[in-house]
């Protein structure tokens, strides 16, 4: 899809929303602003509840949310045929709004043929290579971020619910061990900040619980969309530890454990954070 077409689409959607606002009355939507109850589940809270008012506002409004550039690209890619088989995602999966609904609540998921967990990105590349006979996307490429964000955004508002028993159990345990293991010259574990000190300040940074339900998300610091594995790598480097690779088993298992920590929280993709 060309830039002009994308622009046109955004205008059309803006028009729809303005009409909807007129329909329900602007006052109603403003009255709801500020309540973040839907971003909590049990004792767990999304990073949204830790975010500044301005950052929340960017996420709350799909037109202010810069991640929608990638979502639009993902939507276009969904029905673009690539590879020797002449297929697109939509050839097999039709309308993503139906077929991808709930996917983000279930991933990472156990894959019998791989004998381990696979993330959404890995499933996308399995489809590309096996079904489409196309080249896999690079992990942090614009296309992969767009496709993952588009797929995950179909589950917006649905409760995180990864399966951690049965075949997933040993991988869940590995992810949990990673979360609790100290690393790097600064000798810190994920838990030191995101479990023991969530809500405390590390200089100007309010430490969150490290919930994963908004990924891929637009990070103001990055000025672009990024994967959760990118965030894991950044955290690891902050404590002066050697990061693992994008898509490594270690990070996929950690992603599973972190997903479980956020069980019941709504999928927010694409979230906005600082």
């Amino acid at each position: 899809m060309g830039i002009e077409q994308q622009g046109l689409k955004r205008h059309l959607r803006l028009g729809t929303i303005i009409m909807a606002l007129i329909g329900v009355g602007l006052g109603g939507s403003i009255a709801n602003a500020g309540s973040d109850d839907k971003y909590r589940a049990g004792d767990r809270s999304s990073g949204y509840t830790y975010a500044a008012k301005e950052t929340r506002a960017m996420q709350d409004d799909d037109f202010a949310n810069p991640a929608y550039i990638w979502i639009d690209q993902g939507e276009a890619l969904w029905s673009t045929a690539e590879g020797a088989a002449g297929k697109s995602c939509s050839t097999c999966h039709d309308d993503a709004a139906d077929t991808m609904k709930g996917v983000a609540t279930r991933y990472p998921a156990y894959d019998k043929s791989l004998g381990k967990m696979k993330s959404t990105e890995q499933q996308i590349n399995i489809c590309r290579v096996k079904q489409m006979q196309a080249k896999p996307f690079k992990w942090e490429s614009s296309q992969m971020l767009s496709m993952t964000a588009y797929v995950n955004s179909q589950s917006r508002g649905m409760a995180m619910n990864v399966k951690v028993d049965g075949a997933a159990a040993p991988f869940f345990e590995k992810g949990k061990a990673f979360f609790n293991e100290r690393r790097g010259q600064l000798n810190m574990a994920c838990k030191n900040c995101h479990e023991d000190n969530a809500g405390n300040m590390a200089r100007a940074n309010l430490l969150s619980e490290g919930q994963s339900t908004g990924f891929p998300l637009y990070r103001l610091k990055w000025q672009k969309l990024g994967s959760i594995h990118r965030r894991f790598r950044g955290c690891n480097k902050n404590v002066r530890a050697k990061p693992y690779g994008y898509g490594s088993d270690e990070y996929v298992n950690l992603e599973l454990y972190v997903g479980w920590r956020g069980r019941g929280l709504p999928i927010e993709t694409p979230a906005v954070r600082n």
Binding site: E181, R182, R183, G184, Q185, L186, N187, M188, N192, C193, D196, N197, N200, M201, A202, R203, A204, L207, N236, K237, R240, A241, K242
Partner: protein, 146 residues
Amino acid sequence: MAVAVVAMAAAMPVVADAGVALVKYEVTGGESIAKSLTGKPGDAAKGRGLAIHRKKGNCLACHAMPIPEQSFHGNIGPDLAGVASRYSAGELRLRLVDATIVNKDTIMPAFYRTAGLHRVLKKFKDKTVLKAQEVEDILAYLLTLK
């Protein structure tokens, strides 16, 4: 200036496994390193700068301190105002060197330790966060906080 410096006859450098010389220290009573790591008095003014420096002590990341010109002090650890009234020099030295000796679950990094760390980035491998004299400088500054 306020540091009580112990003569350094006993502080002999030892060669760690990886070949990096770390000053050997003795922990007394499980909670104190009585002797200076270097035998050279700490410089409190330098220590204050190191406490602020984000790649050195970076104490403000976690602690509130009486350093009003710096905004955004962390609140992960205790406020360090008056810390020298609560702890002796030896107790503070131990907490700078390796706070996990007194509290194995602490989030506080060990500033003078290379052993037993996991997956350290290459450029920090076998290096301590602070040099021995930098530990003494920060200690000298902390001892002014009465």
